[in-house]
């Protein structure tokens, strides 16, 4: 195996594009585990550790740009992620354990595209955008376009995720992430990320995304629509939850059967909405 530590993204792109079976290494939490297990044996590893731009956080009028190499620990402590952007902070703080949060990075989570982890769900709820550098320059795509299937992204050969934009979102909205797992720190059986805005007791904005229930984070516009203009009563939550549960395509696994996961969705949705309302003090 060859190994390189380029200092610029452009050098990294050239290396990745020119070598078959090459991989980027960010935090290593998943990649090295896969190498240890013999699942992958890259011909070349391109380390992102020396690319300084990937570690920067930049606030702009649009929102907060988070460098791809930012560890989850730093995202979880980032106070600029407030309002609806707080959904990303909330998810980062609940993901796995402190030692994984010290290693895993936000860019690594995007590239892994594991539908049962926290970050993709939260990024879809936050309507995040991803900057990707490649042989033809840079492009910015909605997170939904980057995540195409279980462990599969739309990134082509030679492409590197450089940073992620968390847009400011709706004025006055709050963001929240709720996970249900067998034990704290395990992969969630089901998770819900949402952004919510209330006027009085009426919902004026809702964007609800479900994790661990399909190949990519599950977002159903009709479920959001069912909540907007409602008072988030039991019937409203049940109806929106039913829309999400019907659209879900969860797997049976050791953390829960597909049927169990579908049953959890409306219950967790109700809990997530009431917790978000507490955050919004309405």
């Amino acid at each position: 195996m060859r190994y390189a530590e380029p200092e610029t993204v452009e050098e990294g792109v050239t290396l990745l594009a020119s070598t078959e079976h090459s991989r980027c290494i960010a935090g290593g939490a998943t990649l090295v585990a896969m190498m240890n297990a013999g699942h992958i044996a890259p011909a070349m590893l391109v380390s992102l550790h020396r690319m300084r731009e990937l570690f920067t956080l930049t606030e702009s009028a649009e929102g907060l740009w988070i460098g791809a190499m930012t560890p989850h620990r730093v995202v979880a402590a980032e106070t600029r992620l407030r309002g609806s952007m707080g959904v990303v902070r909330s998810a980062a703080g609940q993901l796995a354990h402190p030692s994984i949060r010290n290693m895993g990075t936000i860019g690594g989570s995007v590239c892994l595209a594991d539908p049962s982890t926290e970050m993709p769900v939260a990024l879809v709820a936050a309507s995040a955008r991803v900057e990707i550098a490649g042989p033809n320059g840079r492009r910015i795509v909605p997170i939904e376009d980057a995540l195409v299937d279980r462990f599969k992204t739309s990134l082509g050969r030679g492409e590197i995720v450089t940073r992620i934009l968390i847009p400011r979102g709706v004025e006055g909205a709050v963001g929240h992430h709720l996970r249900f797992s067998r034990v704290a720190g395990d992969y969630p059986t089901v998770s819900i990320s949402l952004t919510l805005s209330m006027q009085g007791d009426r919902c004026v904005h809702a964007r609800v995304v479900v994790g661990s229930c399909g190949p990519v984070p599950l977002h159903v516009t009709a479920a959001d629509q069912r909540l907007i203009h409602s008072v988030l009563g039991e019937d409203d939550v049940a109806a929106a939850g039913q829309l999400l549960a019907s659209a879900a395509s969860p797997l049976d696994d050791v953390r829960g059967s597909a049927e169990y996961r579908r049953m959890l969705i409306p219950r967790l949705l109700g809990r997530a909405l009431s917790q978000a309302r507490e955050l919004a003090h309405v």
């Binding site: 290494i25 290593g28 939490a29 090295v32 585990a33 240890n36 297990a37 354990h97 030692s99 720190g185």
Partner: protein
């Protein structure tokens, strides 16, 4: 095995000039090159925490860290926790509470607990449990481990 890369690793305050293949993990380098065998090899998957070390004061799995990526970082292993043949207070508390059984998980637990208490000298019991979430112990059932660490903070589990 790949071509080796020359690098210097800073472990427990000392610099070590090494030549290692890029796929070698910090765990392998610590145990096999530096003979720091206090750090244990368990699952190699970041699931058991037996290999925990501190990198710049934060607990990380040495089994998931490639040694070549850790140049310029401050690495602390269990060998540096004891001072002058005196057990660290965390180690003493674990012994006093009967929390140490086969002992395989204990270096990782001591390292993780040290990182927690260094940053937060008065964690709640929930915070202790959460911080130790990455560390598996197959003997004790965890109760005495948590009791031992809580005894250092004035908390009662």
């Amino acid at each position: 095995m790949s071509d080796k890369i020359s690098l210097s690793l800073r472990v427990n305050g000392a610099s070590h000039a090494l030549s290692v293949a890029p796929e070698r993990t910090l765990l392998e380098v610590l145990r096999e090159e530096l003979r720091h065998t206090g750090t244990k090899r368990g699952c190699d998957q970041g699931s058991c925490g037996a290999c925990m070390v501190l990198v710049d004061g934060e607990p990380v799995f040495s089994c998931l860290s490639l040694a070549v990526t850790l140049r310029d970082r401050e690495i602390t292993t269990i060998e540096a926790v004891e001072a002058g043949n005196e057990l660290h207070p965390i180690q003493r508390a674990l012994v006093q509470h009967g929390a140490v059984q086969c002992g395989f998980c204990i270096p990782g637990i001591v390292i993780t607990a040290k990182a927690l208490l260094d940053r937060n000298p008065h964690p709640t019991v929930d915070e202790i449990r959460h911080a130790l979430g990455s560390n598996t112990c197959r003997c004790s059932g965890y109760a005495r481990i948590v009791e031992a660490i809580a005894s250092l903070t004035g908390e009662r589990p």
